[in-house]
């Protein structure tokens, strides 16, 4: 366990930093809250996740700019969908806690931290992918993201929901398998012109049924992850 990890446990437990967490004054309390949040995010490798999400945005930009995709129909959605699946996989693995069981006995803030982190990462993923698409945007040359930012938001949140559900079932480190498998199913649905709401990524970004399905999955994943947290395994994985 690294020093940062130890500090996170200690801080959230209020063992060696009780005076910092004490609500005697608003300033120190805010400072303690910020420190707790910072340590929580660092222990989940959120800075690395942000770098990886930024890389996904760059790949999306390159895919659009250099015409990596095939055709203009449904095939054009294949690559963006894969990249959106990758961001969801990254979000899913950040749910892993290096502390395991002891962390759960440290107070009432953990669910809020989980919720905030998942929402913040989803927002960051949507923003960074949208930034990549915007940087490549050139409608005169036919360079634009067909699904627009709506498609990015729908897929990232829906796939992340699958990842969060998987983190509760399989554990954080292997939760990437959920978004990966679900993206593969959606890719197949896209190619085969299947149009079930549950494979929302294969439907137009403005489709109401697809949005409802994606948001329901996201809400279930988020709620389950917030309340229960990722599954803990004896091996630590």
């Amino acid at each position: 366990m690294s020093a940062a990890d130890s500090a996170a446990v200690a801080s959230s437990a209020g063992v060696n930093g009780a005076h910092r967490l004490a609500p005697s004054a608003a300033g120190p309390a805010r400072l303690a809250g910020a420190r707790l949040t910072s340590l929580h995010l660092r222990s989940r490798r959120v800075p690395s996740a942000l770098v990886a999400l930024a890389a996904c945005g760059v790949v999306l930009w390159a895919a659009l700019r250099y015409h990596w995709w095939l055709g203009t129909g449904p095939s054009a959605a294949e690559l963006p969908m894969l990249i959106e699946g990758c961001t969801a996989g990254i979000i899913a693995v950040t749910t892993h806690s290096p502390f395991g069981e002891p962390e759960r006995a440290t107070g009432r803030w953990l669910p809020f931290l989980r919720l905030s982190m998942a929402l913040a990462l989803c927002g960051a993923a949507i923003g960074l992918l949208a930034l990549g698409a915007a940087a490549a945007y050139n409608p005169h040359a036919g360079v634009y993201l067909a699904s627009g930012i709506l498609g990015i938001a729908e897929n990232v949140m829906g796939f992340a929901g699958v990842g969060l559900i998987f983190s509760v079932v399989t554990g954080g480190l292997t939760a990437w398998a959920g978004p990966l498998g679900f993206t593969a199913i959606c890719q197949f649905a896209l190619i085969a012109n299947y149009s079930e709401p549950l494979t929302w990524a294969a439907r137009p970004a403005t489709d109401r049924g697809g949005w409802i399905a994606a948001m329901v999955v996201f809400a279930i994943g988020l709620a389950a992850f917030t309340i229960r947290g990722p599954r803990l395994r004896p091996s630590g994985e």
Partner: protein, 514 residues
Amino acid sequence: MTAVAGDARPARPGPSLLAARILRMEIRHSAFVWSIPLLAVLFIYDPFRTASGYPDLWTVRASVVLNKFWPDCVPFTAAFSAWAGSREGRRKVGDLLGTTARPAWTRQMFSLLGTLAWVLAVFLAGIVVIYVRTAQVATWGGPPIWPVVVGLVALTGVSSFAFTLGALFPGRFTAPIVAVGLTVLALVAFRQSVDASGGPIGTLSPDSLVPPNDAGVFYPMAPDVWIVQVMFYAGVVLAATGLLGLSPRTGGVGWRRALDAASAGGMRLRAIATTVFAVGIALAVTGFGLAGTARTSVTGEIEIPALHDSASDKPIAYTPVCAHVSGSFQVCLHPAYKNYLSQAVNSFRPVMAELAGLPGAPVRATEVASLTLPAFVLQDNVGDGEVTGTPPVYKFGMNNALALAPDATQLQDGFRQDIVHAVIVGSTGQLTASVGTPAQQAVVDGLLKAAGSQPYPVCGPGDNPNANRCRRQQVPVTAAAGRFAALPAATRRAWLAANLAALKAGRITLAQVP
């Protein structure tokens, strides 16, 4: 309990037994097994269902092995291989394992083999299902082996590369990023392969276009591209595994010490790793270079000049299967299309009943390699063949006639349209310049309607101003065609016998059509 003498040493398992035991342990603990149910679902709905819908031909059905099943396997293979490769680094047990008797490279090889065993077993199982299903319906030829070899070697390449990346960069993000990265790479390579100017990357993509349905039927499939692909992916396998043995990050000895014969211990292992890596790079570079020289052969396939065997340009001997349609008219097909003979007979029967014996009407229909047909037939999709020679013979190919998705209408309408147009207007070649006078069009459409087929698509598909204007102009032609089709067959035939020469010469007006 048997007593054991104090100085007796326990029996040590032999090296091969020990290796088998380690491999068995790795196979049992591989996480890939969890992806098998999902892969099975994807297999049933994607490659298997697609292949079952394709024509009953070995080459076309076997194409799903690389076009559908291989890309389905890539993300899972990459993800779980990278996951297995990152195991020691992720769990931070490098120091602990550094004291084991076996080198890190050996240990990692078994971990890689454990994942690879599942990957290849799943891939082979899928191929067996597709091939058994095809064997039940195909009437000629046998299972193509090269797609299987390419698929296996390419998946091994994906697995080795992903495993090495996992070992080099262990972390929680490695598996999803490597999986999606390699899938994106496969998708981009596929895009290059369907692009006319694909280049070496496109040539090296196992996932490419579905071959024409008479590929490998009249001429053997040249294995040039497959050989280059095997060469390239085998190179990737060797380079990736060699790198594992050399990189200090994965427990190897590092680049400098690998070449230092005087350094202590493990010299043989370093020499092997260096050789494997060098051979792998050489193979991959050679494969990439050869792929850059790809060009289209005389049989319409992609050939690599340095590897091409001219024997594969020679036609395959076969005995056609024939059936009588009406009178002396018979239709002959390649035995690979035996299942479609009755459909072909039913297609020709009504139209030959109308036209048999008239000047220019074919005396028989024979399937030929699509390659031997004029370019306009293949390029413009104006028909399935042409009526040519004296006496006239309808020579056709099955490429345009037989859709990838079963469509009996396409098969029957294509043949009928070709023959009626050839007799009333002229050969299909002339159709590219003119679809005939309004009177000719009316008679053609009337005969096709009487035979139960769609009229010739003069105006083209789509809802655009030109097509809509054309359709408005066709209204009187359609009315005349309806009148002509409503005549008794004997009356139609008598009118044609008396007026065919004038009609063909363009001297009959639309109003003169009965």
